[in-house]
Symmetry: C2
């Protein structure tokens, strides 16, 4: 189990480099000048990028799956991938109505087919009429199809109790990640002490650290309070900000609510405090709200930053600059593969808007099937429509199962010695803390929770992501696990992790 990637970065990188360079030159006699593009001559920012959700553990999991296919004997028969929020891969079925409309849009001849309900056909016709040549194969406007942006604005108004939303402030995107990176790209500038600093929570979703490394921005960590259900604490925000002002120019505050990987749901009060803080400190707010339908815990409720911002009055709603992000990949639909999403911008400078539209136009447009899917998410079947009953049944089934699994996960983990787990108030993940025996921590050159997860994968076939991939307080160790496996399978997973934790603790005590 001395898999190379368990060794800390730089050392491995060096020897790996030497080895491959030698072997490669042997293999195909590269000219004495060597290659144009090598690890030494490539973009250094890209080298700094890390993305644990699809890191070494997952690569190893894929390899094990292949070995199993080829008949290798293992202590398990399948690898359970609880590393990524990929609902359909975990067996969740697509929402029938959504897929009917997408089929109609893909192959409009089906509009003559009596098997499809009228409301599905009506949605498909409306989308097709908004497409060039009535085909989802045409480019759309770079900002997204206009009638879909109007539907998104209506959805937001309804969600936020009537607070107006302007379709001109809606930008459709290739999943939420695309929009998040685009806004960060607009914001990052300056050199040295003037370099843009961006505040992100620790633990964080590694898209943020990856994008900041890529853009060469300064990452400013603020720590969530594990002892208080991973809540966000303004004092900690102040500490992080004033420390950062010593060496960079903090301009952006990123919030993920409900939290990924930590599953907390922010109180209205907390959101109000964050907004006040952003205004006082002159920060651009980025609100990652892709889990807005994923709230499970008693007494918890999703409050959008937009709604709270406007309820705080014009002093805030006319000045605080904000972008909020949503996606088709999470919530009850879990349609990750379509890469659909949108952002709403508030108080964005009109000239910057023009720059934003210019920037997105270079990539022509977000995938049109993803735009169509997003339109259905924000404009689902209504009570008077034929598909309503089935849609609600399917939607409720997914969300109540998730709520059940969230409770189950917290309960069982907290019975395991050496594992402590906050309630999964929302989103799709649990981020329990694991107590590792000193002998395991001391293992020379190994990242302790990476070592733990790699052992778990090899021994039980369960694929998790080490806490180190999301960031955690020095000396603490965690892992992220999705709550997406079907309930019965999840129970098995939790049981296996329990046994592994006991075994692991014993082995290294």
């Amino acid at each position: 189990i001395f898999t190379p990637w368990l060794i800390r970065g730089s050392f491995l990188q060096r020897c790996a480099r030497d080895i491959t360079n030698m072997s490669q030159q042997a293999v195909n006699g590269v000219s004495h000048r060597g290659r144009v593009l090598t690890l030494d001559s490539m973009n250094p920012n890209v080298k700094r990028v890390e993305y644990a959700v699809r890191g070494p553990i997952v690569q190893r999991a894929v390899q094990i799956e292949k070995e199993l296919k080829e008949g290798a004997k293992k202590p398990f028969t399948e690898v359970i991938k609880a590393n990524i929020g990929d609902a359909h891969a975990m067996g969740q079925k697509p929402i029938t109505f959504f897929r009917q409309v997408l089929a109609l849009c893909s192959y409009p001849a089906l509009l003559e087919d009596s098997k499809f309900p009228e409301d599905a056909k009506q949605r498909a016709r409306r989308i097709l009429e908004a497409c060039g040549g009535h085909s989802i194969g045409a480019y759309s406007a770079s900002q997204g199809i206009e009638c879909i942006r109007q539907d998104v604005a209506r959805y937001i108004e309804k969600r936020d109790g009537g607070i107006p939303s302007n379709p001109d402030n809606i930008y459709l995107s290739t999943g939420a990640s695309d929009a998040i990176v685009t806004i960060l790209k607009l914001l990052v500038c300056g050199e040295g002490r003037d370099r843009t600093g961006v505040m992100i929570s620790i633990p964080q979703y590694p898209l943020y650290s990856a994008a900041l490394a890529d853009l060469g921005a300064v990452q400013i960590n603020y720590y969530l309070d594990e002892d208080n259900c991973w809540s966000l604490n303004i004092t900690e925000l102040r500490r992080a900000l004033s420390a950062a002002r010593e060496h960079c120019n903090p301009r952006v505050l990123c919030i993920i609510n409900p939290g990924n990987p930590t599953g907390q749901v922010q109180s209205r009060q907390c959101i109000e405090d964050v907004i006040r803080f952003a205004k006082e400190e002159h920060l651009f707010l980025m609100a990652d709200e892709v889990y807005q339908d994923n709230v499970y815990a008693e007494g918890c409720q999703f409050h959008s930053f937009k709604k709270v911002l406007f309820e705080m009055g014009p002093e805030y709603s006319n000045t605080v600059e904000m972008a909020s992000f949503h996606s088709t990949s999470k919530c009850y639909m879990g349609e990750c593969g379509f890469r659909g999403g949108y952002m709403e911008v508030i108080n964005l400078d009109p000239e910057v808007k023009a720059q934003l539209i210019k920037l997105v136009s270079v990539r022509l447009c977000p995938p049109v099937p993803g735009q169509a899917l997003l339109d259905l998410v924000v404009n689902p079947p209504q009570p008077d429509e034929p598909s309503y009953a089935t849609f609600m049944k399917e939607r409720t089934a997914v969300l109540s199962a998730l709520a059940e699994k969230a409770r189950l996960t917290e309960q069982i983990f907290n019975t395991v010695p050496g594992i402590t787990c906050n309630p999964v108030q929302g989103a799709m993940y649990t981020f329990p803390r694991i107590t590792l025996p000193q002998k395991a921590i001391d293992k020379l050159g190994l990242v302790p929770d990476m070592f733990y997860c790699m052992r778990l994968l090899d021994e039980e076939g369960i694929c998790l992501v080490p806490g180190s991939g999301f960031g955690q307080r020095e000396g603490t160790y965690h892992f992220r696990m999705t709550i997406l496996p079907p309930t019965e399978k999840l129970k098995v997973v939790l049981q296996k992790i329990r046994e592994f934790q006991l075994r692991f603790t014993q082995e290294f005590s």
Copy 2:
């Protein structure tokens, strides 16, 4: 007709800025500190980005379309958008087989439907089996679905007469643009005189200049030879390269073949010379081959850079680093909205490959419907399959119509005084040269061919892109027009441009 965006950039930008700042502060009382994100405080590289294909002319065209809808009286009843290679928007019908399979993948219940041919069902089943949970709503591997990468490799081998292609060298992407920007991102580094320089043709497809501005790379222009059918001339490459070596570090050579916007198809000899040049000068080759099925002219033929590279022997095929790009958006399918594409990398350093996979994993995966569509493009119906006849009929109809329109366009333009037009050997565009009267050129503060195209749009409802958006030799003027409108409509367009050209010349003589 003194539309503001006709005024040269910087001046307009300044006054526009002052105006909006004032009005905005009036509107919503921005705090005295002003906004966090303004034109002055945003990423300067983004400001340098330009993308004429969706620039001011197109924005004006969209506005005119709205005015027509609202019943405005114009000298025309519709706007004909010949500015962008968007086949479906111009009325081209999707390939039936492709859309049948996509419908089956979107709504697998249709697999039971006898209306769908067996080969379509078989393709859909194979794709679904390769998806997590058998759903195109699951994330795929970041590099793309494995069996699709295998099909792409087989397609390339067949295309290149058996020269081997390795699926591990295939990376699926969100259209070709995504892959092009990703490779450039890996390559760009260094500061000052060490900054990476990238050679691009002039005229160019503005994705390249936009990506280089965004990445802060140095753009190195080499001019295509308009007097010789826009052919690429090695002497000109040498000139551009040695000039650039004075102030940057040239590392990359970008080629578009068949050419966009210029429509030339490179001879095998020319490709060989380019490859030899790249090896001698130690340049990374980027071959944009998205129009590989779009070759019309007698005696012209598409040669892939990969094939020529390998035919030149191991001295080249083992050393020259290259990436080649393809897309679902062009050729006979024209499925732009799905954002499907792939790149094949040759001789890429194994460590850089690992970095590339890490980088693409941050965006999770390319849109899965686009991946599915790409699979059909590289693995279309075979002679023994039920859908073959219809597929070939549809494919041939599109390609022969394009060939006919390519001839027609050249013919007619060359009868117009003041317009000279090279043969459209391939791709989807013509880039004719226009002779403008001195009075029009002298119009204070106006970009002459932008002025010409804006007038054409306002008077005839025809939307073209000014040559200045692609780059052209100082003192020459052009426009890019797609040959995509249906033949009858194209004839009308050509006739209208003819009349406009005569009128315009008279008015300013």
